[in-house]
């Protein structure tokens, strides 16, 4: 016998306020119950009551917490309604209640298992016999595998292997009959089986598969073949069919029908799918109980915008709560979500996903993991796009020669400098009416695809699907101008590989020995690369103070170069401590957290790609930073977050480098060796900064209103109260 406390912990405590129903409730269904052919619930039930009343003196009364009367009445009412009704609407009502019913049956089963004896169980839950008997007669309930399992388990809990009392014998007898009804075929079904000698298991599966095939054909046919207006539209019944499919959603036999329903074009107003069906499909897909192919997933998301938003938020959440940045794992996760593939197929999905990424990145600008996710997403998206249309060749970073990269990135940087100056100049001038967006500042190569992607976005913005508020219109006119800088910056975030390559190229530049013309060009391209990196971390002059940071970065980079890339060969194994201290001090003077992230990137890239061996120096610098951090951390809790974000940044940077093992431009063996050393040493250094548990960051609201589907009653995420406020704060920086 188990302690009643366990029951209370399982959640029945909240029912404690109700008085135990010692007398059976005489609800409306009671009188009709007796006539029911199969469950025989009424008779058995009444018999049980009299028996319980006889034995109630013997049974101890404090074993199981009774269920609240209204709850029991509700489910009894439903069970009566469903088992007696002959109209299909009752079955559909049962489909709608399936999930809650499962929860209730689970509670009933828990309570039954706690009972010391069958008499005890029946006394505590006097409704149970009738409820189970009736539910066993409702096809919608028994069609759901989870529910039918629960029903069988409940029946088994009530079965006595060695019955002693009359009540136990009666209960056994009734359970035997109910099982017989559940497990054996009725005469009509039996017919074919009997004649062809087919076992019921095989017959049931076979007939379900065939039924599904026939219905799938009918659903696929659509209403195109209707000849005259008087003829019944073939879409009639699609809504109720989708409701009927709720218990079958996770059943492999039903997969073709589920897919056909989802993929059905919504050309006929009679062909609407039920919301409950879409919701069930979506939750089963997210919990991996249902496998959908890309076409079906895309169709699902086009049916319900909220499900698309939730799918993306699910991905965001799981990526942001990764315990350690793992690029391959992330790529896998992104691909498994089917979102990039669906984006490649449906422009509308792409637009929504892109908008959500934009608004998220505005909120979590410094999150390296988010940037890594967006990069991974873009990569998977481009791969999917290339797989779909071979003419759109997608070139990875590896295939581009180093010289081309240098030329390209220098060009990008120069163009960006011009463009940002132009934007900001215009922004400073007094406003005159509506402003146009800035010129396209994007390079043509090798970013051709991204440019096209961008072009496709802007070409589609006039399409009917974009009548939802765009992020750009959230703010004032000032943002619209800033929006152009944001667009460019966001493109850099999406194609984050460019920034990685820029940092690598910067760190691997050979030190110049003489003042030749080539050294001039080398130093100018280094400056361009450094500017690009500075822009990436400090895109604006409003909140990010790019101009000041740029001046500082030039100084710091000069110091670092002095320390690591000495023209004298070979460099001294350990730089003079005075110099090191000076540089370390200048690193510490960085004010903003973003500039620290930039410094970390520069340091790490130097440690990996610097032509001369300087990882010892870098590690010393990082260690010095960590020492200082420790002190600060004790002072301020805010610092903790900074440490976490730096650690994340380092993880992501190293993961990105590690993911490109065959980089032909660099001595890969050397890089690999350094990477390993760095990883080992760095985790020790970081772990000294106290392990901070990673919190899943708060995500912003989905930014859109739902046009076709009303919002789901329970929002999927802990929503930020006001989108516009929080987003506007982030937007103000731009």
């Amino acid at each position: 016998m188990k302690a009643p406390k366990t029951v209370q912990r399982r959640g029945t405590l909240r029912y404690a306020g109700f008085t135990p129903p010692t007398v059976i409730t005489t609800n409306g269904g009671e009188a009709r119950i007796k006539q029911h052919p199969v469950c025989g619930g009424g008779k058995f039930h009444l018999l049980l009551i009299s028996l319980i009343q006889q034995v109630s003196g013997m049974a101890s009364r404090d074993k199981i917490e009774p269920f609240p009367k209204p709850l029991v009445q509700f489910w009894m009412g439903k069970a009566c309604e469903w088992s007696e009704a002959t109209v299909p609407s009752a079955q559909l009502d049962a489909c709608r209640h399936l999930e809650r019913l499962r929860g209730f049956l689970q509670e009933v089963l828990g309570a039954l298992r706690l009972a010391a004896s069958v008499a005890d169980a029946l006394q505590a839950l006097p409704f149970v016999g009738q409820l189970l008997g009736r539910l066993c007669c409702v096809p919608c309930v028994t069609a759901d595998e989870a529910s039918s399992t629960l029903l069988l388990q409940c029946l088994r809990s009530l079965f006595s292997p060695a019955p002693q009392t009359t009540i136990e014998r009666k209960a056994n007898d009734w359970i035997r009959k109910t099982m017989c009804h559940l497990l054996t075929a009725d005469e009509e079904r039996c017919c074919v089986m009997k004649h062809v000698g087919l076992p019921s298991e095989e017959y049931n599966t076979d007939s379900l598969t065939k039924t599904v095939t026939l219905l799938t054909e009918a659903v696929n046919r659509g209403c195109g073949s209707v000849r005259t207006p008087s003829e019944r539209c073939l879409c009639d019944g699609i809504h109720s069919l989708s409701l009927t499919c709720i218990p079958l959603v996770t059943r492999p036999e039903a997969a073709p029908l589920i897919g056909a329903l989802l993929r059905r074009p919504v050309s006929c107003d009679r062909a609407q799918l039920s919301e409950e069906f879409v919701e069930t499909v979506f939750t089963s897909f997210l919990s991996k109980k249902l496998h959908l192919d890309v076409h079906c997933a895309g169709a699902l998301w086009r049916h319900s915008l909220s499900s698309l938003e939730r799918a993306l938020f699910h991905l965001l959440r799981s990526a942001l709560s990764l315990s350690r940045a793992d690029l391959r794992g992330l790529d896998q996760q992104v691909n498994d979500s089917l979102l990039p593939q669906a984006c490649a197929q449906h422009c509308s999905i792409f637009l929504v996903v892109n908008e959500i990424f934009r608004s998220t990145v505005l909120e979590l600008e410094e999150s390296a993991v988010l940037r890594m996710l967006i990069q991974s997403f873009t990569r998977c998206f481009l791969t999917a796009l290339a797989a779909q249309d071979p003419e759109v060749g997608y070139q990875g970073h590896r295939e581009v020669p180093q010289e081309a990269w240098l030329q390209h990135l220098t060009h990008v940087s120069t163009q960006l400098q011009l463009a940002t100056t132009e934007f900001e100049d215009r922004d400073d001038r007094p406003r005159q009416g509506h402003r146009h967006c800035g010129p396209t500042v994007l390079p043509a190569r090798p970013a051709g695809l991204l440019v096209r992607q961008k072009a496709s976005i802007s070409s589609i913005t006039s399409a009917p699907l974009t009548d939802r508020p765009k992020i750009a219109s959230l703010s004032t006119d000032a943002f619209t101008t800033g929006g152009s800088v944001f667009e460019v910056w966001f493109l850099l975030v999406q194609g984050g590989g460019w920034v990685d390559v820029a940092a690598q190229l910067l760190a691997s530049t050979e030190p110049h020995t003489s003042s030749s013309s080539s050294s001039y060009s080398s130093s100018s391209s280094s400056a361009a690369l450094l500017w690009l990196l500075t822009f990436f971390y400090h895109p604006t002059n409003r909140g990010h103070q790019r101009t000041q940071q740029w001046e500082r970065m030039q100084r710091v980079w000069g110091d670092l170069r002095g320390l690591c890339l000495r023209p004298v060969t070979p460099p001294p194994p350990h730089p003079p401590p005075v110099e090191l201290e000076a540089v370390a001090e200048s690193l510490h003077s960085s004010s903003s957290s973003t500039s620290k992230l930039l410094l970390l990137r520069l340091l790490l890239n130097l440690a990996i790609f610097c032509p001369s061996q300087c990882d010892t120096t870098i590690l010393q610098l990082i260690r010095k930073m960590s020492e200082k951090k420790k002190k600060k951390e004790e002072e301020e809790g805010v610092e903790e977050e900074e440490v976490v974000s730096m650690r994340r940044e380092a993880e992501c940077l190293l993961a990105a480098v590690a993911a490109e093992p065959n980089s032909g431009t660099l001595a890969s063996a050397r890089v690999q060796a350094r990477l390993r050393t760095l990883e080992d040493t760095l985790w020790n250094a970081f772990s000294q900064w106290r392990e901070v548990p990673l919190r899943s960051p708060r995500l912003p609201n989905p930014p859109f209103t739902h046009h076709s589907t009303p919002p789901h009653p329970t929002p999927p995420l802990e929503m930020v109260p006001s989108v516009s406020k929080t987003t506007a704060r982030a937007v103000a920086v731009w």
């Binding site: 919608c140 069609a143 035997r176 497990l183 009997k194 298991e201 007939s207 009918a218 079958l248």
Partner: protein
């Protein structure tokens, strides 16, 4: 072979006992062995189902055993050859329906198809792992059968009949490559048409078997076999024509010339059973085999609007029959003439609307 027949005899006895009082003496291990023997019978069925000689030998043996068992047990139900194919089902059903079945046995049955829930008696019997899924599968099928989805051009049959027909068709297809398949198929269809349990539904099942395939105009061996069988069973054919929707019959007539001839033959018989009542000014049924004039017209209406070939055939035949009766236009002189004028009236009404 001797051993197989001996084993079948023991299993038959076992199954006979399972529905008597004597089952009280059974325990978990008895019932486990009983299920293992039933499983053996299913293997035997699958092995020899399409082997006419061995099958006949087994059937003779079963007949003999049933005779003996009937003498021993008053309420004995015969075990047929096809019962062997679903022997575990038969045993399960008999046990669950038998009030004398000991609770320990029922409890063991419960344990065999439920997930091991820590009670220590998980998978006791062989081959029951899918039974739980089968329960929900059965209900799922029933639910889908009840849906109100327009299947389009499926001969007016409902999903249930098409599915059952399709299973029957597959079974016949499996028999075709075997020697003496003709007699096997004949026996199968005979048993279906003679089954007392659901007199009305065999027509739908057979029609389902004929209409369920995708390409209904391509030549098909299975379909021809069924049509040939129907031709030699005029009673079955007649009851099909009485029971099935007119649309289904038209579809079948489109598929097979054999069926069309037989169907039109039945329609002619029905027509000959009509007599014109001058006082009422109506065609009335003169004997038990006939159908009302309106029903007959309905059959012809579907035939003449079904499509080119069938339409032309039927119209030509109707005109010939009218001419045979003298070709009078006056109402009440020829049933064929009246049907034709009725049809042209319906058509002109349809074209007006």
């Amino acid at each position: 072979m001797e051993a197989v027949l001996k084993n079948l005899e023991s299993t038959s006895e076992l199954l006979a006992i399972s529905e008597t009082e004597y089952v009280r003496q059974w325990n978990e291990s008895t019932v486990k062995r009983a299920f293992q023997w039933s499983d053996y019978c299913e293997h035997i069925f699958n092995r020899f189902n399409a082997e006419p000689t061995i099958r006949t030998a087994i059937e003779n043996k079963l007949r003999h055993i049933n005779d003996l068992l009937r003498k021993t047990f008053l309420d004995h139900r015969d075990l047929t050859f096809t019962d062997l194919g679903r022997c575990r089902d038969v045993l399960m059903e008999r046990l669950l329906k038998n009030p004398a079945c000991p609770p320990s046995v029922i409890n063991a049955l419960f344990g065999s198809f439920q997930p091991n829930d820590g009670r220590g008696d998980g998978q006791v019997f062989l081959g029951f792992s899918g039974l739980r899924g089968s329960v929900s599968c059965k209900s799922a099928g029933e639910m889908l059968w009840a849906t109100d989805v327009n299947l389009g051009a499926k001969g007016g049959l409902c999903i249930k009949d098409l599915v059952k027909g399709s299973i029957l068709r597959e079974h016949i297809q499996k028999l075709i490559p075997h020697t003496d398949s003709e007699s096997l198929i004949k026996r199968l269809l005979d048993s279906i048409s003679q089954s007392n349990s659901d007199k009305d539904s065999y027509s739908e099942m057979i029609a389902g078997a004929l209409l369920c395939c995708e390409d209904r105009t391509a030549p098909d061996v299975t379909r021809n076999v069924i049509f040939t069988w129907l031709e030699s069973h005029p009673k079955t054919l007649l009851s099909m024509c009485q029971v099935l929707p007119v649309l289904t019959l038209t579809e079948l007539a489109q598929q097979s010339e054999q069926f069309r001839l037989a169907y039109v033959g039945i329609l002619k018989n029905w027509a000959s059973a009509l007599m014109y009542d001058v006082t009422e000014g109506e065609w009335i049924i003169s004997d038990d085999n006939g159908v009302p004039f309106s029903t007959l017209t309905e059959h012809f209406r579907y035939l003449v609007t079904s499509g080119h070939q069938l339409e032309a055939h039927t119209l030509r035949e109707l005109h010939e029959l009218k001419e045979g009766d003298g070709g009078f236009e006056e109402r009440g002189l020829s049933v064929w003439g009246d049907i034709l004028s009725e049809l042209s009236m319906i058509q002109s009404l349809a074209s007006v609307s």
